[in-house]
């Protein structure tokens, strides 16, 4: 019996992961009421937990959940005088024999994604709303992930939903002319969610933010198959995720060249490369595809020494044109140093330092230190490592820099 119960609980959990976003999206589409949609989705899963152990897991869990949630919404709106108009819409679906069966209701998640990531909402609200309504994380889970008080996170979600209603943010996929700009906003939200999870694991593994970001990116790729950038982002995430376990060892940052490549996840790398190839076939380059291509160069090099640095330097050049930023320029300098020799790279780093746009960013002196060390300019390297150490924001990075500093040979008398 326990085995049966565990199987049913696992089925409900799987349905929650797979169906939550679509369920909420459909209910918002039908009622226009975000809170009602979330509540009824929640109730549908509670009903599943109560009845599936007895009646068995339905053949189509998603359709069962949608029907149940829709009934709950109808019940609620019937009790609520102001719900009359929304109720009429729902009732048509309930009674009309010609209405499409729930299996054929179009996937509303794309409308939900674009609405959650609307530029008229604050960026942190877009992130929270996406995690709550699409990924189904609880407010408490989102608050924990972003080191915020639960009450603050709850208020952020309430305000965002209120603004959607009061400011008239439409529940729709933007028209073609607005799509590139709006899609970039969606991808930025997903990438931030991934990076939050990548930098520091604050949730338990089951609900890891990196996994949520990858799941949402997969959904986006399925819903927008003609757009190459979502696939570029998915590939980038998969290739980073493949190396995650080797990024730190005993709380010390491990740089790429010293990571244990045999511990990288070969299946994720293969999938990342395949997804990227599919995106590149569209011949519409974008910043995420280029970053994924750089990650693929690293991930597919059998050893650090065989890294294709000229290719990486060229890709950073492309990225600097598509999405110019001083951080991209710094990364390009490293690639140029590895491809064309340390002096060429150092010259670029010194140019960046002189421009002053990266002042206070620890990776600027850390990169200089590394190049100076490779060039054998020990005294200058030591000064740069100390400067980086004072600026580094995390403990693993400080430990890494301290270890590198300690490794430097004593300077000549």
């Amino acid at each position: 019996m326990t085995g049966h119960h565990d199987r049913v609980t696992a089925a409900v959990e799987a349905a929650y992961r797979d169906e939550w976003g679509q369920l909420v999206a459909t209910l918002i589409g039908l009622t226009g009421d975000w809170d009602l949609a979330e509540d009824c989705a929640q109730e549908a899963f509670a009903a599943a937990l109560a009845t599936w152990p007895r009646d068995g897991v339905p053949r189509r869990p998603g359709a069962w959940l949608t029907t149940t949630a829709r009934h709950r919404a109808t019940d609620r709106l019937r009790r609520d005088a102001t719900g009359a108009a929304k109720l009429r819409q729902l009732a048509v679906l309930e009674r009309d024999p010609a209405a499409p069966p729930v299996e054929e209701i179009p996937d509303d998640r794309l409308r939900l994604i674009f609405t959650c990531c609307h530029p008229a909402l604050r960026f942190d609200a877009r992130v929270a709303l996406t995690l709550r309504t699409l990924a189904g994380l609880t407010t408490a889970e989102i608050a924990r992930a972003f080191l915020t008080a639960e009450a603050t996170m709850a208020q952020r979600l309430v305000r965002a939903k209120r603004k959607i209603a009061e400011a008239g943010i439409p529940y729709r996929v933007p028209p073609a002319e607005a799509l590139p700009h709006r899609l970039a906003a969606v991808l930025a939200v997903l990438y931030l969610i991934f990076n939050e999870g990548y930098d520091e694991e604050r949730l338990d593994a089951r609900r890891a933010l990196t996994a949520e970001a990858i799941r949402l990116a997969r959904v986006l790729c399925r819903l927008l198959p003609a757009e190459p950038e979502p696939a570029g982002l998915l590939a980038l995430m998969l290739l980073h995720e493949a190396r995650r376990a080797t990024r730190t060892a005993d709380g010390v940052l491990v740089p790429l060249e010293r990571q244990d490549r045999s511990a990288w996840d070969a299946a994720l790398i293969a999938e990342g490369v395949a997804v990227l190839d599919g995106a590149l076939a569209s011949r519409r380059a974008g910043p995420y595809q280029v970053q994924a291509a750089i990650a693929a160069c690293h991930a597919t090099a059998p050893e650090a020494a065989s890294t294709d640095w000229p290719q990486i330097a060229a890709l950073y050049g492309t990225l600097a044109r598509l999405a110019p930023s001083p951080v991209v320029a710094l990364n390009r300098a490293v690639a140029v140093a590895m491809a064309d020799g340390i002096p060429a790279g150092l010259a670029l780093v010194d140019e960046l330092a002189a421009a002053g746009t990266l002042t206070g960013y620890h990776l600027l002196p850390a990169t200089r230190a590394d190049l100076l060390r490779r060039a054998g300019r020990t005294d200058e390297a030591r000064r740069a490592y100390r400067e980086a150490l004072a600026l580094a924001p995390t403990e693993p990075e400080r430990r890494y820099l301290a270890a590198r500093l300690a490794e430097l040979p004593d300077s000549a008398p």
Binding site: A167, I169, R172
Partner: protein, 111 residues
């Protein structure tokens, strides 16, 4: 949905009404509003040097010269539109000539 578009800039560029009327961008914006049938009412405002601010404190009416707040940008005009959604209001706002050097604040009407 009804929105008020507050048309703001720092008053550095201050075209006359005639210049504005002759500006092809402004003409295109008006034509766009006409086509959408969205415009309810609108007005251009005289510069802030001609503004007067009134406050009543403890029963006393305080009148002062100038705008209500010292900011870089001032409201130079407004238009009330009735359109489908915030996205349409954004499209309308983006077409206004002042959007290119000033900014347009979109405020839903509280009804």
């Amino acid at each position: 949905m009804k929105y008020v578009l507050l048309i703001c800039d720092d008053e550095t560029a201050s075209p006359s009404n005639e210049q504005l009327a002759a500006d092809p961008v402004h003409q295109a914006w008006l034509a766009d509003l006409e086509r959408r049938g969205a415009r309810i009412v609108g007005a251009r405002l005289r510069p802030v040097v001609d503004a007067t601010t009134v406050r009543v404190r403890d029963g006393e009416t305080l009148v002062s010269d100038g705008p209500f707040a010292e900011t870089k940008d001032f409201v130079g005009g407004f238009v009330i539109v009735d359109c489908a959604s915030l996205d349409e209001a954004i499209e309308i706002a983006a077409g206004h000539p002042y959007a290119r050097w000033g900014s347009i604040e979109i405020r839903p009407v509280w009804e």
